[in-house]
Every structure is written in C-alpha cells, then in structure tokens.
Amino acid sequence: MENEKNNKLLEIKDLEVRYRSGGRSVHAVNGVSLSVDRGEILGLVGETGAGKTTIAKSILRILPDHAIQSVSGEIIFDGEDLLKAKNNRMTAIRGYKISMIFQDPMTALNPIMPVNKQIAEGIALHMGVSKREAIERANKMLETVGISSDRGGEYPHQFSGGMKQRVVIAMALACRPDLLLADEPTTALDVTIQAQVLELIANLQKELHTAMILITHDLGVVAGVCDKVAVVYAGEILESGTKEEIFDHPKHPYTKGLFGALPDLSKKVSRLSPIDGLPPDPTNLPPGCPFAPRCPKATDECRQGAIALEALNPDHLCRCIHIDE
C-alpha cells in the first residue's frame, strides 16, 4: 500500500478552467480528475477543443494569463499542489520535473537561436552546469534523438518538420523530467515521420522511466503507446481506464462512437459511422451529460443533473447512466 502511494506521480482533482472571451466565460475544463503513476503513459483522447491542451498547460501553469478567468481544483505533483505553488517554485519545476512537447514543431522553436543553445538553456538553468558544458550536453541530446551534433549550431529553419520535433523532444527530455506532457506531438507531421517520432518518444520514455501524458485524437497512437486512456469531451472525462478495458470493452456511447468512426480492416463495413452533430458550445454547456445532445441513448434523465463518474471495476470508470442497457 505504502509503495503504491509513492508510485503516484500526478493527481489532478476537480480541475476547472474558465477562459474569458468577449465578455462570456468559456468552460474549457469542467471537473477533471485523473492520476498518473511513475513511468506510466496516460493517453488523453478527444476531439479538437475538448480541453486536452488546457489540462496539460494548467499542469505547467503556462495558460495565457490574459485569457484566464479562473482555475480551480488541485494538481498534486509529487505531493505538492502546483496550483498553490509560488511562481519561482514553478520555474524550478518547469523543464526539470515536468516538461512539455508542443503540437507544432514549426512554431515551437525560437527561430533566431541555434537549436543547441535552446536545448542548453534548460540544462544550464536546472543542472547547474556551465554554459559550455550545457552546450555539450545539448549536442549529446541531439545525438540521442538522431540528429548529428554537428548540426547543433544551426537554426530551426535549417531543419525539416520531423527534425524540428526531434529537437523539441530533445529539449523536453534534456533534464530527464519525471513527467512529460506530449501535446499531439505527431499531428503536424507527415504520416511516415509520425511513426518514427512516436517510436522515439516511447523509447526515450522507457529509457528515462518518465511518466507521460500523451494528448492525441488518434486512437491508433493510443493503442500503440499508452497504458491508460482517458476520453475527454467538452472538458469532462467521460470514460477512463486501462487501455485494454477501454479498447476491448468501451462502455460510453461517445467512446463507442469514436471507435465506430475508425475503419476496421478485419470487418467488411461499407460505411464508417461518424458521430452526428457537433461538440457543445463551451460558453453554453447543456446542464446534464455534455454528450446528451448527440447521444443515441439519451433520455430526459441524461439532460437534467450532472452525471457521476462511476467505477465499473477498479480499472474502468465511466460517466453514463445507460451502460447496463
């Protein structure tokens, strides 16, 4: 039991994030709770705008100040509530204990600074080494992600998209963080490069025993890499559990819908079945289940009160009142 407690690296409780937009409040994240153990990979799956990136950015507390209305809940990382941490405590954690890989490598690097210098910045800051030593380590890090260290002094525009993402990965892993937040790390890349980059991340993650939250809307990626999966919809987790549970026994109509929208080569299906309708407007969420307006099973009960996340078994949680049917 004691061991299990120490094993828990990150625990988010009731995270709520509201943005301000043109005088209206946008309910981006609504009571999300999740946890990640050391060395574990959690996949956050959901459509664009479901609040996945907001969850990741609130862990690092790098949400844009000017747009934020409120952030509440708890984000316990290694026994410390990050939402209550002082700013300089956060700068000590960012890049050292927790680091992030951004979605678009084209814009994630500073265009006017050599790549090894960008990697070295974090190393010099957190590892307390000299600038020269930091540059040497940065070059080694580049080798680790498959870029010749000779190219360390080059600028981002001299690299291809896949190479840039490798640089971003090198930067994120340079200080061997305990937790890596990977925000759709392969979305902006060519399909052939996607597999390489994903494999690189997964290998380094194992090697460094880093826990990871992998944000994606690609179920194939989740199947290949993750240990656990959480399905996010309109800022809420609708279903979560181990990868096997979610993939083999999806319970929530939304999760089922997601799988239905994927082509399955083993069956002969003439048409994919997409989910009808659009995600709800985050400035005006429906009172009950956020998925009710699109759900084939929805009843009046679904549209009334909030629906609790219930445990079907220790490895599977689902937020739906119609699972037994």
């Binding site: 950015k57 960012r94 050292y96 974090g122 800051l125 525009h157």
Partner: protein
Amino acid sequence: MSRYVTKRILQIIPIILVVSVLIFAIMSLVPSDPITIIMSQTSATAEEIEAARDAAGYNDPFLVRLGNYLKNLYLHGDMGKSFKTGSPVFKDLMSRLPVTFRLAFGSILVSVLLGIPLGVLSAVRAGSLSDRMTMFFTLMLNSMPNFWLALMLVILFSLKLKLLPTNGIGGLEHYILPVIANSVGAVAGIARQTRASVLEVIRSDFVSTARSKGLKERVVIWKHALPNGLIPVITSIGGFFGRLLGGSMVIEMTFSLPGVGSYMINGINNRDYDCVQGAMLWIAFIFAVTMLVVDLLYAFIDPRIKAQYAASSAKKKAKKEAA
C-alpha cells in the same frame, strides 16, 4: 554575405547621383538668387544686377549649369563655396558635423534606452492601467511638435528655473534641452512600435516553449520575445537616426546650434545654392548609409534573413557561371 554588402554599398552611388540632380533642379526652380538678394539691398540698378547674374553664370541654360555642377562635384570633388561667406561648403559641413553628431547620438541613445523598455513593459502588462497610461502619454508626446516642446523646455528650465542655458554651444549642459526636445517624439514612437511587436511575438508558441523550460519571465521576454520582435523596432530607430544625423533643422535653429540642419536653413534663406546642395547631399548620403546599416542589422538579428541575403548573391553567381 560580403557580396551583398558590396552590392548595397555600390547602390549608394546611383542614389547620390540622382539626388544631386534632383536637388539642383529643385533649387533652380526657386525664384530669386543670392546675387539678387544681396544686390537689391544696395543701390544697384536692375541692369547691374542682371549683368552680375550673367557673370556668375546664373543666366546660362539649365543643362549647362547642371553639367557644370555635376562636373565640379564628381570630377573635382568640389561642393562649391558659400556665396555669402566665401568658405568652401565641404569645410563648413565638416566643421558642423560634430555638433550634429553629438545631438544625434545623444538623442538616439536616450530614445532607445527609454523607448524599448517602456514598450516592453507596456506589452507585458497589455491592457493594464499602466499600459493604457503609457500609450496615452506616448501618443500625446508623439503628436507634440518638437519646436513647441523645445520652447516650453526653454521657458521652464532656462528662464524660470535658470538651470540650463537657452541656446548656443559650450559644455554638455548645452545639449541637454536639445536632446530632450529631439528624443521625446522618438521615445514615444519607439515605445509604441516596441509594444506592438512584442505583443505580436509574446503569444507565439516558442515563447510558451521558453516558459515551459522553466526560464524566468524576465529571460523569456528579453531573450526570446523581444529579439524576435526587434526588426520593425530597428526599422523605426533607423528612420529616426537617419533623420537626426542629417541634422535636426528645427531643434538646431531653436537652440542656435551650429549643426548641418541650421547650416541648411541659413543656406535656404540666403538662396545660397551650394550650401543647400551640399547639406542635402550629406542628408541623402547619411540616410542611405543608415538604411544599409539597418538592413545589415536585420541579418545580424535574424539568421533567416542572413540566409536570404547569402542565397540571393549565390544565385546570381551561379547564373553568371552558367552563362
């Protein structure tokens, strides 16, 4: 890169050539001339004046006069001499440059050292009260005519408080008011430009990346955001500086500083062709040089622009070899 620099330096030659022709043409359109102005104050008759104009060559056809001017300027390096004082224009300009330089460097130093931090602070606190106050005052200062400000400063600091001299040259204290009057507009302009460019950059992904590395906000802003927003700021600083180096006519006149600007104004008042042409040539030359330096600074700041410069000259080279 060195090919690019050489090319840009050579480009200054035709610019100066065209400018000298244009200035000469414009000056010929100005009614009256130095001889008429001087002799009409004496008891000379119209015939005598006309004879003197003939002798000075003012009645020659335009193209002949232009040819003579260009020949003297480019073949003999002679900018002519002041009709009024008889001293060579080149020597006059050289003796007046130090004053103009001191004023220009002082003003640009003050403008940059105040304008950039003000703009950055405003951008970081965009929308706050301090930001709105800064923007309000910079707009006001930017729209304030500098001669009026100069007069107000003189009234306050020289006449009322008797702290600083009203005009003339001498020690450092003679430059304080002119530098302030000259910088206020530039501080405001640079601050507004800096704010706008930093605001544009500050929402970029790479700024989030820099934050996610754990860098302090100060480092994120000054090392990552500002340098990326610097190009338009450098452009506006270059514009201010080029104009200042050409002589701040209004301020030099207001404070009776013997710089290039006041030299030109005096020349215009006296229809002293050679003086005006000489001063205008200097303005064109120094502006072209400043803009060249600005372009080179772009390459220094942004490796992508540097690559572009290098690529454009490499392409030409390849074309030449192929031909």
